[in-house]
Assembly symmetry: C5
Amino acid sequence: MPPLSLLRGKPKQPGLPPGTLVNASREKVSKTSIRLFDFTDTNYVEKPVKSVNDLKGLASSKSVSWIDIVGLGDMKVFEALGKLFDLHPLILEDVLHTEQRPKFENYDNVLYIVVKMFSLDKKENKINSEQISLILGKHFVISLQERPGDVFEPVRQRIRDGKGVRRRGPDYITYMILDSIVDNYFLVLEQIGERIEELEDELLADPDQKTLHKVNSIRQEAIILRRSIWPLRDVVNRFERDENALVQPGTRIYIRDVYDHTVQVIEAIETYRDILSGMVDLYLSSVSNKLNSVMKVLTVIATIFIPLTWIAGVYGMNFEFMPELGWRFGYPMIITVMFAVGIVMLIYFKRKKWM
Amino acid sequence: MPPLSLLRGKPKQPGLPPGTLVNASREKVSKTSIRLFDFTDTNYVEKPVKSVNDLKGLASSKSVSWIDIVGLGDMKVFEALGKLFDLHPLILEDVLHTEQRPKFENYDNVLYIVVKMFSLDKKENKINSEQISLILGKHFVISLQERPGDVFEPVRQRIRDGKGVRRRGPDYITYMILDSIVDNYFLVLEQIGERIEELEDELLADPDQKTLHKVNSIRQEAIILRRSIWPLRDVVNRFERDENALVQPGTRIYIRDVYDHTVQVIEAIETYRDILSGMVDLYLSSVSNKLNSVMKVLTVIATIFIPLTWIAGVYGMNFEFMPELGWRFGYPMIITVMFAVGIVMLIYFKRKKWM
Amino acid sequence: MPPLSLLRGKPKQPGLPPGTLVNASREKVSKTSIRLFDFTDTNYVEKPVKSVNDLKGLASSKSVSWIDIVGLGDMKVFEALGKLFDLHPLILEDVLHTEQRPKFENYDNVLYIVVKMFSLDKKENKINSEQISLILGKHFVISLQERPGDVFEPVRQRIRDGKGVRRRGPDYITYMILDSIVDNYFLVLEQIGERIEELEDELLADPDQKTLHKVNSIRQEAIILRRSIWPLRDVVNRFERDENALVQPGTRIYIRDVYDHTVQVIEAIETYRDILSGMVDLYLSSVSNKLNSVMKVLTVIATIFIPLTWIAGVYGMNFEFMPELGWRFGYPMIITVMFAVGIVMLIYFKRKKWM
Amino acid sequence: MPPLSLLRGKPKQPGLPPGTLVNASREKVSKTSIRLFDFTDTNYVEKPVKSVNDLKGLASSKSVSWIDIVGLGDMKVFEALGKLFDLHPLILEDVLHTEQRPKFENYDNVLYIVVKMFSLDKKENKINSEQISLILGKHFVISLQERPGDVFEPVRQRIRDGKGVRRRGPDYITYMILDSIVDNYFLVLEQIGERIEELEDELLADPDQKTLHKVNSIRQEAIILRRSIWPLRDVVNRFERDENALVQPGTRIYIRDVYDHTVQVIEAIETYRDILSGMVDLYLSSVSNKLNSVMKVLTVIATIFIPLTWIAGVYGMNFEFMPELGWRFGYPMIITVMFAVGIVMLIYFKRKKWM
Amino acid sequence: MPPLSLLRGKPKQPGLPPGTLVNASREKVSKTSIRLFDFTDTNYVEKPVKSVNDLKGLASSKSVSWIDIVGLGDMKVFEALGKLFDLHPLILEDVLHTEQRPKFENYDNVLYIVVKMFSLDKKENKINSEQISLILGKHFVISLQERPGDVFEPVRQRIRDGKGVRRRGPDYITYMILDSIVDNYFLVLEQIGERIEELEDELLADPDQKTLHKVNSIRQEAIILRRSIWPLRDVVNRFERDENALVQPGTRIYIRDVYDHTVQVIEAIETYRDILSGMVDLYLSSVSNKLNSVMKVLTVIATIFIPLTWIAGVYGMNFEFMPELGWRFGYPMIITVMFAVGIVMLIYFKRKKWM
């Protein structure tokens, strides 16, 4: 039951002082790799970064920088990062404790956004969750993810292509990253939708206890997805409306678009839940129907043959004086009576539609 | 299960940059046809438009124009339209990705409204959904729909008739279009209501597993309708209350009327859902009742004949010393005893109302 | 299933222009009768009105007028009324389309209130619904109802009696009418409550499938009542709080009282729904219990006699060498064994409380 | 089903003019007894009051008066009271119609509070409800209850004792009365809690249909209690926050304390409802389990003996040529076969854990 | 059923005057032990305190003091404490009545916070609840708990260690205590989560009535936990946002972090509840499936052997003229017929998948 384990995460060990940097990510990727995208209207640089010190000066330079970090294993990187960009200790703690609830925090000098990303593990037919942190400053945005993956690849490609993106600021980069994450939700929804449709066919054909376990398991997944995505609605909404100088008015309308998509995702999950709970009803009634049909067979056979057996029993009695036994046509007569009784009963059951 | 597929739409391919114009409508109508209604108090022109360029000058002319576009296949039309009327790239993207949630956006120069329209496909007994976009500017309104259809025909007719409509602005045209869409919902509701009544009769007569599948299928339709219409409430409300110069005060009271009808539609759907969930209870209990009546027949027959068969069996035993067997009236006596037992049991079952 | 039909009403034919006057009331009362109550502190006139023209001058006269209209059949009356009292076309449309949701609209010169009135049809054991429109102006109030009825009679009587009422304005008359409508709801509630109590007795005594259908039918009625009364809460609240010069401060506290009663009605309906859904559980469990008791009888009889029948069968076998058959007391011995087995089983079942 | 009757009350006879003084209390206590507590920092008077006229002057005197009225039978008292303290006619009407919803009304000169009090009728194991009205003026508070009872006794005692109470105003007296009423709710909750615990034991031991009826009956009580106490939350909240000169700031923090207790009562009721609905599931599943165990007994017995009976039947056939019948050890052989079959089946059932 | 008893607490004996100091804690720890942590940037004192008088002067001294009190048995301590720190009588009352709802009160001179702490009693597999009160003044914070325990130990340790904590004020100490309490919730959640996973395995393997009782018992625990933690959300939120001089802006962002964790705990509990209610469905359906499989065995055996027994019965009849009985191969023929019938039926049941 893997989804349940998603529930047990705790943001930090009880009693640890806030701001203690411990990698609490379930993914133990010890390597932390950094990639820098730095551009202005006219210039464009993309390069891997070996040491955080190479990023010095970016925080105040007027070019737009996207610091794209994968893997949360190297504590020194985060300590250096914290000093370089003047990040509140709680930001670094939240980045590393990957069981956060999606949230939006305005720390005056930066905006801090935590969201969940889901990816399909087609082999094991399950959904993996990953925490993405976004730190948006005046001239930079830092994205942090647990595992390497290609969800942000289209964003990188668009920066490489240029196409007007380079004239915009780090807020727009943040928007693009959020947008690609939310777009990714639709893929997950689509897979769940397909599994629901398969289950509906199974329910119509020949459902058994396993079908119900599958329904229940998708229901649990939907519950947990919902739990992760529901707060995102509020996060994106506050990102759009928060009063700060870090998000430009022209970008807000794009964030609004992400908000609409988030709401759409949530509504789809709610709809799935409604549909799944209807499927439980269908399953339970199909079990009852099966019982009914089993009982009808038993009843038909038993009510036909039990009286007949009694008749046979009567003429198997050993009384000395049973005149019928001596009759010439006693036997065929009684056989005829038996068939008559049987046929009458069959007609009765036909009428009752038990056969 | 067609309604489910409605759920899987995604507003755009993951990772595509915003503003990319791709026709994502499920309806692949390649032709895009445009019809222009242009009028003032005194003049009235209605004509098909071949090229978007023919619309030049309308955006700034003081006459009221309704640009009525059907079919979303021709990308060039939309690019030209975007330039001509100075539309934000997100508007055009949303127009073409027809899985939007109903929404209202105020882009300063225009108001952008997305709503869903439903039409009955009586042949296949299903509900088709279509996205309608409305772009309201100072002197024009653009309506975009996926398929040709006659839902807007009454609106066109009223403009042709004149009757005071021509003295009003494009906001009133927008109202009339919304009104005709919401009025159309009532037709869909009526059809669903009729199917629910049919199902209620079926439930009272002779329900089987198919009845439940039908109930479930209407329930799913209601869930999905609700999902599409629920946000409309907010859309129309914001359309009425939004502070802008594009909607005149005199029109707002009419929009309020559309709002009331939208709420009425939503409440009717909620009521349907309540009624449908009561029907599931009825069905489940009717299955139990059937099982009960089957079991009663079995029990009555078995409990009457099993003891009798035992009596017969006793006198079928081959003991040498069984005095009853030699009695002159042993046989009729035992037959009488059997009937007596049978009749006593029948009376017992009558009293228990099992027969 | 009459209540369902209440759901299918649509406020107007799709596509009809707003303000078209068509009588869409389900009640086809062609006659429209008007009764005028006109009074000041000192004067009092009550008379039937033949022609709307006789009402001229009332709108501006300082006396308080209540124009009490019954029957919505005569379109000319409403057109004339609209002109005389300067009513917005949407008001007249809403008056005539009697499937409106309860609503409150402030049209500057008048307040327009739509509410539902319910009356008991004791013969058919169903609830009839009727739409009441109230139009409150500076010196007049117009009430419009579909059918003649005596619900407003106490209001009329109090005006005739005088008793301080005549010193008050048309807002107080409106309050009195609303109050008498809401008071009437309690009668409907009381009838529903009585039927619920009857059903509870039936559930405790001997419930069958019909009981459940009755429970379901009351549940549907409660759903539909709730749908009509729920918006009334908002209507009365806005009537109390709306900022306008038409309602005097002294009257508002009375309207607040109506509001409290409306909330009480809604809460009672909610409580009924909770109770009814508990009754469904009771019914379903009583069906299961009946099945249990049927199965116990079958099991007791079958498990006692099937082994005995086997014993009889054994001694009915025709083996040549069965020493017991020749024993002198073989037969009574085996009969004794049979009774012993039967009694042991009976004791076992007694202990298990199956008998 | 006594609690249901609580639901049917209507605040007044339909059509009666507001302000009509009719005793609509279900308790027909004709006598109305009045007790006066009048005190300042230094003085203290407690005395029964024969005539309302004896209260003259209290409304304006600077001493704090608590007019403690029991029994709502004497209309003249209330008319006189209304005049003396200048009470709005609606207050008097609400005092007398004891089916009010708890409410808080600010009538400028006085605050009017209606709450419900519950008391345990241990003999009949039911909950009685009583309406308490509190009218708080500048120098006085009037409390009105339907029946004599000792719930206010601690309040009276504290006034007699002095202990700082006499330095406070009538708002503090009102707080003390409210506090003693809400404290009393906890006693009712405790009794319900005890009955729930008893039912849980019953459910674990040997539940039958009666258990479910008890669960349902407590559920109904909880529904109705909730209905009476839920609005109290709002009442107390508004009493605390309402802007008026009648409640002193120092008293508000005490009212806040009552508010907290009210919320606690509501939450406890909600929790009871959740627990009770879990108990219905438990009951239903215990019924299914019983059916299962009945069916297992039947199945075990029937599937063991039916095949054995067939074997006996085979050797009871009268064919002339059945070689086994002549065998010397045919009979013991077949008996052995029968026992073997029986034992194999028993082992099979043991394994399936049906025994 | 220990959790239920948590519900029955009442904040104080009915009718007791507010401010009466009575130890109503369920834990009867008569000893009250006090520990003082007093520090400035440079100094640090930690010592046990014998008498409250030793605390004199702390309230006004500029050093930060944490007065850590365990055990609520000694009334004199609390009276002295109340005078020394000028605490409102309601605070002391709430401290001692340990059935409070979590709450936040701003008493101008101090902030008063009540929260619940849970600890695992691994021996009895139950959750103990304890009330923690926090009183935050300008230069001090008083924490009061019912039982000694080591949940606050990490907080104490951090103060001893120094590490920047000593530069902060009592608001930060309060934050640290709240944080350690909320962190502790995750441990309780984890234990519940583990028990849910065990139950899921049990449900998949071989569920019986006990499984359901366990599900129900965890459900009750979840309901009661939720009841205690839900108001905490509001408490922490108000602690963060309350306008006062006692909480410094720099601390508020830390409190916000506690808020996020609280929300996470609540959401996890909600998710557990959803999952548990899905488990009830699974259990109920597994019971039905078991019944189905029992009935199938019965039906298969009975429908095979009952007709065969009838055939045997027919040839056990004693008619004189039954030609088959004299046939040479009558017996093997009829045995063959019987086997044929049996095999046909077995094939039929195989096809129906009943075997």
